[in-house]
Symmetry: C2
Subunit: 259 residues, 2 copies
C-alpha cells in the first residue's frame, strides 16, 4: 500500500471512496467503516480488520504500509475538528447472534432502538469494561459504525462481539434459549437493582436491555423480558442519564458474578 | 412581575440584563444565573430561588407572575437550539463548605478541576440520584451555573448543596475533620472498588474525588486522599468514561451504606 509519489489529496479516488464511508449506505455497500485516531487504529490492527491506513506526514512512520495523505485529504477523512492524523478503513465486524451466543457470554448488553450514537458508543465502552463479551444493537438503533459511535466506544467496538438484529421479535427467546436471563431497565419498574442483588439473582448469566433516554423501552420489550428493573434513586433526581444507569447495572452484574 | 402591555423583546432592558447571565462574570456580578425549561424551572421554584420568569405566549399560563416575552427574546435567553419557552433568573445557590458539612452528609461528590460542563452536570445529577447531599466544585472547575452544566444536571443543581472551593488546599483536611473518608478515583490505583466493598470500607461516610477525563486527578489530590481507588476493568477497554466511573463509585457507596 506504500506510495512512493506525491501524497494523496481529497480528490484521489481511494480517498474519495473512503470519505464516502461516513455515510451509512456506503458502509453497507462497501462492507467497511472508518476508525480514526491512534487508539482506535491500534485496536483495529489488533483485530486484523484493517484494509487500508491513511496517515499524514507526521504520523506515517508509525504505520508501515500506510498511504501518505495531504492535510486536505485528512480533513476530509476525519469527522473531528482536530484530526489526529491517522484513519483506517476497516471491515465491518458484525457477528451473527448465534455465533456470539455460542460462546456462552456471561454478560450481554442490548441497546434497543437507541438512536444517539454517543450514548450507544459509551454503553459499548462501559459494557466492555464490565466484562460483557457481546453488545447487540437491536431494532432501529444507531449504526454501530457511525463515526461518533466508534469514537465514543474508544476502541471497545473492536473488543466485543457486535451483533445487529434489526428485527428483534425473536431476540428475547434466543437470549433465553442461550441461558441468559433478560433484565430490562425501566424507571417505573416495581423491583430495583438492590432487590435483585439481595436475592442473588444478579449472579446469573444476564443480558441487560437498555432503551433510549427519550422514550425508554417499548412496552413489548418490557413484557418480553424476564424482569423489569429500576436503578434506585435515593435523592431528589428524577432519573439517571442513560449511560450512568447502564454503568450501574452492568457493574452490579459484574460484581455479583464474581463474588 | 406581570406585564399588561406588549411582550418583552430582546431589546427590553430586563431581557438584555438576563441574557448577560450566560457569561460567568455577569453571573458573579449579579449573583444570579439562568435555568431553562419546565423541569429546571419547577425545581428552581421549589427551592425558592427564582427572581423572575420569562415565558412565551404558549407557556405563560403555567407561570403566574411571569413576564411575557416574544420569540426573539426567548431565542436570546435560551442557550439551546429548540427553546422550551420558559427561562428563570435564579439566585446563586452556593452554600459555604462548613454549612454543608455541618449537616453530616453520608455521601459527598467532589469534582476537582473538571472543566467540561456536561461531565460536571452529569456527575451532579448522578450524585443526587445516589443520595449525595453535597457536591463540591473544587479548584479551577467549571462554573456550576454554566448553562450546559445546569442543563446536564437536569434539576439536581437545586436538590443538593453546591459548594465552590476555588482554593482546595485545605479541602481534604476539612472533609476528614467532618468524619468523611476521602476516596480518589485513579485508573492507576493499586486498590480497586471490589477490594473496598469486600472489606466493608464503602459503608463508611465518604467523599468521592473525581478528576478530569483528560488529565485525571493532580498528584497532590491523590496523595492527600485517604485512598486512591480504581474501578476494575474486566474486559478489553482501557478505561471508563468519567460519568460512568463516577456512577459506579457513587452507587457502590450508596448500596454499601444501606446494606
Amino acid at each position: 500500500m506504500t506510495t512512493g509519489g506525491a501524497p494523496f489529496t481529497r480528490r484521489t479516488p481511494r480517498v474519495v471512496s473512503a470519505v464516502k464511508l461516513q455515510r451509512r449506505k456506503d458502509r453497507e455497500a462497501q462492507g467497511a467503516f472508518l476508525a480514526e485516531g491512534p487508539q482506535a487504529v491500534a485496536s483495529a490492527l489488533s483485530s486484523g480488520v484493517v484494509r487500508e491506513i491513511f496517515a499524514t506526514v507526521d504520523r506515517i512512520a508509525d504505520y508501515p504500509g500506510a498511504s501518505l495523505v495531504a492535510d486536505d485529504a485528512m480533513a476530509a477523512l476525519s469527522e473531528t475538528v482536530q484530526p489526529q492524523g491517522v484513519v483506517a478503513v476497516c471491515d465491518l465486524l458484525d457477528v451473527p447472534l448465534a455465533d456470539a451466543l455460542a460462546k456462552e457470554p456471561r454478560l450481554v448488553a442490548v441497546v434497543l432502538e437507541i438512536r444517539d450514537p454517543g450514548n450507544a458508543g459509551t454503553i459499548l465502552r462501559t459494557a466492555d469494561a464490565a466484562g460483557a463479551r457481546t453488545v447487540i444493537f437491536a431494532g432501529d438503533a444507531v449504526d454501530p459504525y457511525n463515526g461518533k459511535c466508534v469514537r465514543a466506544s474508544a476502541g471497545s467496538l473492536f473488543h466485543v462481539d457486535v451483533v445487529r438484529e434489526r428485527d428483534w421479535s425473536a431476540l428475547f427467546s434466543q437470549l433465553r434459549a442461550a441461558g441468559l436471563q433478560t433484565l430490562a431497565t425501566s424507571g417505573y419498574a416495581a423491583r430495583d437493582l438492590d432487590d435483585l442483588a439481595d436475592t442473588g439473582r444478579l449472579a446469573g448469566r444476564t443480558a441487560w436491555i437498555f432503551g433510549s433516554e427519550a422514550h425508554g423501552l417499548p412496552d413489548a420489550a418490557l413484557s418480553e423480558s424476564d424482569e423489569a428493573v429500576r436503578v434506585p434513586i435515593y435523592g431528589g433526581a428524577e432519573s439517571l442519564n442513560l449511560a450512568a444507569a447502564a454503568a450501574v447495572c452492568l457493574y452490579a452484574s459484574a460484581r455479583a458474578q464474581r463474588s
